[in-house]
């Protein structure tokens, strides 16, 4: 039998949710553990085996000088490096710090600042090293995570489309909340992957999978304003979980 491939899971600044998605694959977890050697996954096991690894899943963004170095090491040890989640692919919600106004935050000094070492920005993994595939989502969808894993293990292209949430929304048979309820929705500019969850719970998509392949944020913002949202609403909508992803960053900058 072929050698079992080695899988590693790494964490940078994040909430742990994307790694947890792997443990949330209750039905597949043991099969996965049989199929690959889980060589480094601290959340699941204290057994740590050295690299190189066939596939590394990286969660979290780079926010400290130490992590900026650590990701270089991870890259060197990994044949394929896949980032999982908004933090790793776009800097995550903590990238809101990138927009903080210098005067504002220097006045917000905590008790003993010397203990903290942090960078001024939260940046995606791809700003530091080459990434083989980026899986979107805050958090990632566990079915997509499995799909990416089996695609990489079987050397095929992951079936992870980059079109809008609307495509999934309509396939699912939802009634559009934007058209039928007048609820502002980010679905038209947001990357598919969640299966159009929010609209199926009667709420507008809030963009947690980041920008789709060709987002027209200007046109969507115009529609939001027609539905009664104001500039602050649209600005916040773009500036949350993917604030630093370029199309959303630009949209957040230009309104409000």
């Amino acid at each position: 039998m072929a050698r079992r491939k080695k899988l590693a899971v790494w964490k940078f600044a994040s909430c742990d949710g994307c790694q947890l998605s792997l443990l949330d694959c209750e039905d597949e977890l043991l099969a996965l553990a049989g199929e690959v050697e889980i060589a480094h996954f601290l959340e699941a096991s204290s057994a740590v085996r050295g690299g190189p690894y066939d596939v590394s899943l990286v969660e979290g963004s780079i926010t400290t000088p130490e992590d900026a170095e650590r990701i270089q090491r991870v890259r060197r040890l990994s044949r394929r490096l896949v980032t999982i989640g908004a933090c790793a692919t776009a800097g995550g919600i903590q990238a809101l710090r990138n927009f903080a106004d210098v005067r504002e935050f220097t006045s917000v000094v905590y008790a003993t600042p010397d203990y903290i070492s942090t960078l001024a920005t939260s940046t995606p993994i791809s700003s530091h090293v080459t990434v083989d595939f980026e899986l979107h989502g805050c958090p990632v969808n566990k079915h997509q995570l499995l799909e990416v894993l089996s695609a990489f293990l079987n050397e095929r292209r992951p079936a992870i489309p980059a079109y809008s949430v609307c495509v999934e929304c309509k396939r699912r048979g939802n009634v559009c909340v934007m058209v039928a309820h007048g609820t502002p929705c980010l679905g038209p500019v947001t990357h598919a992957g969640c299966g159009a969850l929010c609209p199926s719970y009667h709420r507008g998509c809030y963009g947690c999978f980041g920008p789709m392949e060709s987002p027209n944020t200007v046109s969507l913002t115009r529609e939001w304003l027609k539905l009664g949202a104001d500039g602050r609403d649209t600005r916040r909508a773009f500036r949350t979980f993917h604030a630093a992803a370029e199309p959303f960053r630009a949209a957040g900058d230009s309104h409000g």
Binding site: D24, A47, D67, Q94, F105, Y110, Y115, I116, R203
Partner: protein, 429 residues
């Protein structure tokens, strides 16, 4: 020359987030104990400022992927408190149901995948599954049942999307909820089995002395709302939290340490169990009695049994809520914004989670403060380590190190939570 031993783990495994542990022993005396949190801070409280009060549940959920519901619930309560609104009974019940899902999921994760391997001598669940497949499969089935509840009520397992200030975006239909009954019944059976299993594990000896603090709500086991009560007789509302709990920033850590009226205290399953045992369901109490577990239970290693009892309770409670479910007429109540301060405290699987917000009249958040369970427990965890090492100083380094890690895991620390909050200061490097 003095004999000096240092026992350290640079990367704590099987906990949520990134932390390290260091124990220094000099002349057979504990010289220093440190649970270091090096998880980089993410500054949530800083960037909550200026956001809308309606965004807090979604934003704070991202503090922790393991207990997002806890964050959402505490945030909702705090916002509703600030705006002077209380939700109707059906909405409240739906929240409690969702919360039960998170308890089951989080406890099952911790008991089976993170903690049990310590007791049984494995480095993790994948290894354990090779020898004890049934145990791991059962654990995963339990976990899945919890996740199912979150998926149906919350929309997804991690960072649910259906929660809003005032209630939910959409109330699940009777039909959707009915589908949960069977898996939960099965989960309850597994949970009962789990109580027996965990009670039979070899328990290291240890006893703690610190005070216990838990949410208290008359007539029910503390989960989703209430005041705070302590084993020392304290009883206060969420608004008075800061008069009793003080956080200080310690050098070695990216997290804050808290004290209760100046003393070390513990929150979490052990505290809940000891303070609210009588409110457990009869089935959960029986399960505890069957294995000889009753308050006072002061061995932190037994927390794994207590968590199992709480899983029995959470399944029981979820099934009760499902049976009584009436689809609310509206899935949420309107919560018009107003200027003011609001507080919310709920029981995350690993302990009390407190939120405080100050709002402007249009609902803009002016100030936010969050105290997660792990920073409250940090001193207690170090206290446990201290006493444990003191008693077992003769163990070889390896063994002592493993046991110390196990002692830390007793409290299911969530380091992502603990490190969420520091204010932001730029060091331009």
């Amino acid at each position: 020359m003095a004999e000096r031993r240092t026992i350290r783990t640079d990367f704590l495994a099987r906990v949520e987030g990134e932390g390290a542990m260091r124990v220094v022993i000099r002349d057979r005396q504990v010289a220093d104990i440190e649970l270091r949190i090096y998880e980089p801070p993410r500054f949530f409280e800083a960037f909550l400022r200026g956001r809308s009060y309606l965004e807090a549940p979604d934003i704070t959920a991202r503090i922790c992927g393991i207990c997002p519901v806890a964050y959402q619930m505490s945030a909702c309560h705090a916002m509703e408190d600030a705006c002077g609104v209380t939700v109707d009974e059906p909405i409240r019940n739906l929240r409690r149901l969702l919360y039960c899902g998170e308890w089951i999921e989080s406890h099952a994760l911790h008991v089976f995948l993170l903690h049990a391997p310590d007791f049984l001598g494995y480095d993790g669940a994948p290894a354990m599954a090779r020898d004890l497949p049934k145990v791991v499969e059962d654990g995963l089935a339990l976990k899945k049942a919890g996740n199912e509840v979150m998926r149906v009520v919350g929309g997804r397992e991690i960072h649910p999307i259906n929660v809003r200030v005032g209630g939910f975006y959409r109330a699940p239909s009777r039909r959707e909820l009915d589908a949960l009954v069977e898996p939960l019944e099965r989960a309850r059976e597994i949970a009962l089995e789990t109580v027996r299993l965990t009670a039979s594990l070899p328990m290291p000896e240890l006893e703690f002395e610190h005070e216990l603090l838990a949410v208290s709500s008359p007539g029910e086991y503390p989960i989703d709302q209430g005041r705070l009560a302590s084993s020392g007789g304290l009883d206060f509302g969420p608004a008075e939290f800061q008069q009793h709990v003080v956080e200080e920033h310690v050098e070695r850590s990216n997290a804050l340490h808290a004290t209760l009226d100046g003393g070390v205290y513990l929150t979490g399953p052990i505290a809940r169990f000891n303070l609210a045992f009588d409110e457990l369901s009869p089935l959960a109490r029986e399960a505890a009695a069957e294995v000889g577990l009753a308050p006072p239970s002061r061995n932190p290693f037994r927390s794994i049994v207590i968590r199992s009892v709480e899983m029995v309770y959470a399944c029981d409670e979820a099934l009760r809520l499902l049976a009584d479910y009436v689809e609310p007429e509206r899935p949420y109540v309107d919560v018009p914004p107003r200027a003011g301060v609001g507080f919310g405290v709920t029981e995350a699987p690993r302990g009390a989670l407190w939120h405080r917000y100050e709002l402007a009249d249009d609902g803009t958040i002016l100030d936010a403060k969050i105290v997660p369970p792990t920073s409250q427990n940090q001193k207690a965890i170090e206290g446990d380590l201290y006493r444990f090492v003191e008693r077992h100083v003769d163990l070889p380094d390896d063994e002592l190190g493993l046991r110390c890690e196990q002692a830390i895991r007793n409290h299911d620390p969530c380091i992502s939570c603990a490190a969420h909050f520091l204010e932001f200061r730029r060091t331009n490097r």
